[in-house]
Subunit: 64 residues, 2 copies
């Protein structure tokens, strides 16, 4: 499988917020993450910041 | 391996711009893509729009 873990960057910290993410889509004023298990999470005013796919990592950040 | 293909969304079209992408990082006023083969591409004024990792797809879009 080719899913990745999503981390939220806050200053110098990287906080794991969802494992095994399949899709990330813009929705309204934020982004919706869906895992391969069907788990969903909406993050208002956040965007996809960077990717490191061989390491299975997605980095998200608050807007602005 | 867990790389994905990067597509640029332009209106209704999805244009393949790089295969086997490993990392995408913000750099200056745009994003830099690096493939697992070491190939690099810089896209000025673009951002990561959406992901569909099980399908090995990254979607990019022009800013604004």
């Amino acid at each position: 499988m080719c899913e990745a873990n999503a981390y939220l960057i806050e200053g110098d910290e990287k906080k794991l917020i969802m494992e095994a993410v399949d899709t990330v889509d813009p929705e309204g004023e934020g982004i919706t993450l869906v895992s391969i298990f069907g788990e969903q999470k909406f993050l208002k005013a956040h965007h996809i910041h960077a990717l490191s796919l061989v390491d299975h990592r997605i980095f998200l950040k608050a807007d602005g």
